[in-house]
């Protein structure tokens, strides 16, 4: 393997890793606050990607397309919490126990897959590039030909992760979210509208899925059933960070992306399975995740 080759693989892995981080942060923020996640997070991403594809096809300018996609997904996040998650909390004694939300959110994901499939067909499609003039525009970096699109996706993802962190740890909203996560009852006593926060985090998660969906479009071929794999990988990346450590998620996601890129190169048949299996073993051995101390979160 040449140096150039390695740089190419690193750049591709970094780009995908950044996407995983974005999707996983959505899972992280809802789990932190409500102990629930959307098992269709990947399918929300898929809807975002196809919306972009559609809007660009009908000639909407890039900015408008992005804005519209974000708004639609935000509404979907709101609806998801209202329809598929909140009503379950009122039923204390559901036979599925405390985990009905896993099945309802998965059910919504199936519906979304079907709707998109009816609209766009089963076959794989290509999205138009976001930043570069054509799909395979390449720049030379250290003797390696890198896709402009990939580099810009990485930059955009890093920016958004930074914004997310600033929001979480330095804004009033973020502090409210943390208060609700710490103890919903006392947060309520402090005058925080916990219900609004709980809906809010699902909206944020959906927006993160939309952003990831917009960015991933030009990198891969897209199809209505791409969501499941992304949900699985995002869940695993979030679990590597113990579902409680955003820095762990950042590191875990990027390592996962790079590992995947390398193993795909070395074994084109089963390469994508190695990082999954490795991560599963890590979680089995250390259920609290690689980057956190203490016991597993067994709620």
């Amino acid at each position: 393997m040449q140096i150039g080759n390695i740089i190419q693989l690193l750049s591709g892995g970094l780009a995908m890793g950044a996407i995983y981080v974005l999707v996983a942060l959505g899972l992280y923020i809802t789990h932190l606050t409500t102990h629930r996640v959307n098992f269709g997070q990947g399918d929300f991403l898929m809807v975002g990607t196809f919306l972009m594809l559609l809007l660009r096809k009908v000639g909407a300018p890039l900015g408008v397309a992005i804005a519209a996609t974000l708004v639609v997904l935000a509404v979907m996040g709101w609806l998801l919490e209202r329809i598929a998650i909140r009503p379950l909390d009122r039923k204390k004694t559901s036979p599925v126990g405390a985990f009905s939300w896993i099945l309802t959110t998965a059910g919504i994901a199936l519906i979304l897959q079907n709707v998109i499939e009816l609209g766009f067909g089963k076959t794989s499609q290509y999205s138009a590039p976001l930043f570069s003039s054509q799909r395979d525009q390449v720049v030379q970096v250290l003797g390696a030909g890198l896709f402009v699109e990939e580099i810009l996706v990485i930059v955009a993802a890093i920016l958004i992760v930074a914004i997310f962190y600033a929001f979480m740890f330095h804004s009033r909203w973020g502090k409210n979210i943390q208060a609700v996560a710490f103890n919903p009852e006392s947060a309520k006593l402090l005058g925080i509208h916990t219900d609004r926060v709980k809906t809010g985090v699902f909206i944020i998660a959906a927006i993160l899925a939309a952003v990831a969906g917009i960015l991933i479009g030009p990198l891969v071929t897209i199809n209505p059933h791409m969501g499941l794999v992304l949900t699985i990988k995002a869940l695993i990346v979030a679990a590597i960070g113990g579902f409680a450590n955003p820095v762990g998620i950042l590191i875990g996601g990027i390592l996962f992306g790079i590992f995947e890129s390398l193993s795909n190169y070395l074994d084109s048949g089963f390469g994508d399975l190695y990082p999954l299996l490795a991560a599963l073993i890590i979680i089995a051995v250390k259920p609290s995740g690689l980057f956190s101390e203490g016991r597993a979160d067994v709620r």
Partner: protein
């Protein structure tokens, strides 16, 4: 069988089973389209897989989104051994089932440590990995093109193959449905439901939680594998398309729609599922949509599923006769039995409990600091002190929920410091919880039976249940005696949720007594009770001490504490500040300042 035995107790499960078996024997000989026989076969093996999922999710509360993976393991395990190694079909099916159980046991490693979200994630991922392997490992599985010519059950008579298969799969199903009913009715179901309620609680009654969780997971995987193995031999073709996440979802739908945690749920759910599949076959375009819609609607609107709906319908229409339970009315306890209860207790002589230099910190904060207490056998020992003094931490360290940072705990001369909760329960530690722990889904009597030691082998239990309509008779009688002892006998058939708070507290005490403790830990036994109820509890506690049990209790009601305790230990800020008889403690100036206050003089 004598008429007498027939009249004495009608076995409620006999009629449905007989009907089912008659239909089953007759069906292949009816002049039906072969398609219906095929459909019935599909129903049989799908139901086997759904029964497993119902036990897993409905009883133990563990989520699996990857049953398709185990189904695939069973299918390939059986198809390949029969096809490539020439094994006879029944042996191949057994191997497929075993392979799936093995896979399930491996994934069960996750179940040991986590549940809920993590387990859902892990099973989803494992199912996905197995699906991908089936698709891409073409050398072994043939991928989507599949394996064809998988041997079928023929015994040299190819024409009768479908009928043989029908009987084979159907017989397997009947055995498994019986097993599932047995699990629901008896000790297995109770233990699994306790685990689902709370793992700490389950361990505190002596259930080895990790073993049970891994075991039920492997069992559910084995049943999924058996379903898959039958599938592989049904038409002689196995293609990887059959094992996508869509199958996992379909099995979940059957379990949920039928009614989770009910005996008939899987049967109803599988019927509905196959109905849906037949309908969808025409409009496959909308298949996922329909699946998703059903999942969401049922969970939101009819979480009890078809079994629940049927149940409330028959009650509404007045169709359901008086409930026939396994319990022969209410079992009265004779005077002898109540005193025999007392006699038996003596076998479990209370023992001493010795805490030596116990310390426990929570992230730097010392909750318990070098506490040493000697609890003498056959006494009532009270732990008192203001909130945050460390009482609950000590109780939890004695029970094994927390391990102390330093110090040792000795139970009757045996060092138990490093033992787990369940092991300590087996040595004779029983406890009640500050926030009541009961299994809400089963009767009051069953809640007590949770504590009673198992007295004969499961095999014997099974055959008693199957042929004599009597399950765990001795355990039942013993539990009834305890309920009568506490004056709850008339409520034995009720659900705990129907009881007032005071009775729920008593019920929890009954369960702890059923464990035949040598040491009984009571965490705020009269919190929330009125004066009359508190008096009754005090009576019970004194009686238990008479029977020889050592009792350790935490309680804030001083009147109560002073009246029942032989000795008291007073804690403040994690330190032991006084120790002595109630009389000594009431005079102790440090205690008065820290806790009792001067008002105690009145």
């Amino acid at each position: 069988m004598s008429d007498n035995a027939l009249n004495a107790k009608r076995d409620p499960k006999r009629l449905p089973y007989l009907l089912g078996i008659i239909c089953f024997i007759v069906m292949p000989w009816l002049p039906l389209n072969g398609f219906y026989v095929f459909l019935a076969q599909t129903f049989f093996y799908t139901l086997i897989a759904v029964i497993g999922l119902n036990l897993l999710l409905g009883l133990s509360g563990q989520m699996s989104l990857g049953q398709a993976g185990f189904y695939a393991l069973g299918a390939y395990g059986s198809a390949l051994t029969a096809l490539k190694l020439g094994w006879p079909v029944p042996l191949a099916i057994a191997f497929g089932t075993f392979l799936a159980a093995l896979g399930g046991g491996l994934v069960g490693v996750f179940a040991l440590r986590t549940r809920g979200l993590y387990l859902a994630m892990t099973t989803l991922a494992v199912g996905y990995v197995l699906d991908i392997l089936a698709q891409r490992w073409i050398g072994l599985t043939g991928g989507a093109m599949g394996l064809s010519g998988v041997p079928q059950l023929e015994f040299g008579l190819p024409k009768l193959g479908p009928v043989f298969f029908f009987y084979f799969a159907g017989t397997a199903l009947i055995v498994i449905q019986l097993l599932s009913d047995f699990i629901h009715d008896g000790r297995f179901g109770r233990n699994l439901r306790a685990i689902r309620e709370s793992e700490v609680f389950a361990a505190s009654v002596g259930i080895q939680v990790s073993r049970w969780k891994a075991g039920i997971f492997a069992f559910a995987a084995a049943l999924a594998g058996m379903g898959g193995a039958f599938f592989a031999h049904q038409s002689g073709f196995v293609g990887s398309d059959a094992f996508t996440v869509r199958l996992s979802i379909a099995l979940l739908i059957a379990a949920v729609v039928g009614g989770l945690g009910t005996k008939s749920g899987p049967l109803l759910g599988t019927l509905i599922l196959l109905g849906i599949v037949e309908v969808i076959a025409g409009i496959d375009k909308y298949g996922l949509f329909i699946y998703g819609l059903i999942l969401v609607t049922v969970l939101l609107a009819f979480p009890k599923g078809a079994a629940g709906i049927l149940d409330s319908l028959t009650t509404k229409l007045g169709l359901s006769r008086k409930k026939i339970t396994l319990l022969d009315a209410t079992i009265p306890s004779s005077k002898e039995q109540l005193s025999e209860l007392a006699l038996r207790r003596i076998a479990n002589e209370g023992t001493s409990l010795c805490l030596q230099g116990l310390s426990k910190s929570y992230s730097g904060l010392k909750a318990v600091d070098e506490v040493s207490i000697d609890i003498k056998p056959n006494t009532v020992h009270g732990l008192i002190g203001p909130n945050g003094a460390g009482k609950s931490t000590i109780i939890n360290m004695i029970a094994g929920v927390y391990l102390p940072d330093t110090g040792t705990i000795t139970l009757g001369g045996q060092n138990i410091s490093s033992l787990g909760v369940a092991e300590r329960a087996h040595l004779g530690l029983a406890r009640t919880f500050q926030n009541l722990q009961l299994i809400e889904a089963v009767s009051v009597l069953d809640n007590v039976m949770l504590g009673v030691k198992h007295q004969q082998s499961y095999t014997k239990d099974f055959f008693d249940w199957l042929f004599k309509n009597s399950l765990e008779k001795n355990e039942r009688q013993e539990s009834m005696n305890i309920l009568n002892f506490l004056g709850l006998g008339h409520l034995a058939d009720r659900l705990p949720g129907e009881l007032p708070y005071g009775h729920r507290k008593l019920l929890e005490l009954a369960r702890a007594i059923a464990q035949r403790p040598r040491i009984l830990l009571l965490d705020e036994p009269i919190a929330g009770m009125n004066a009359q109820e508190a008096k009754e509890i005090a009576q019970v506690i004194l009686k238990l001490r008479q029977l020889g049990i050592t009792i350790v209790l935490v309680e804030h009601n001083m009147e109560f504490v002073m009246s029942v305790c032989d000795e008291l230990s007073v804690l403040n800020f994690g330190r032991l500040i006084a120790h002595g008889t109630p009389g000594e403690i009431q005079q102790n100036p440090t205690v008065i300042e820290a806790y009792l206050g001067t008002g105690v003089k009145k």
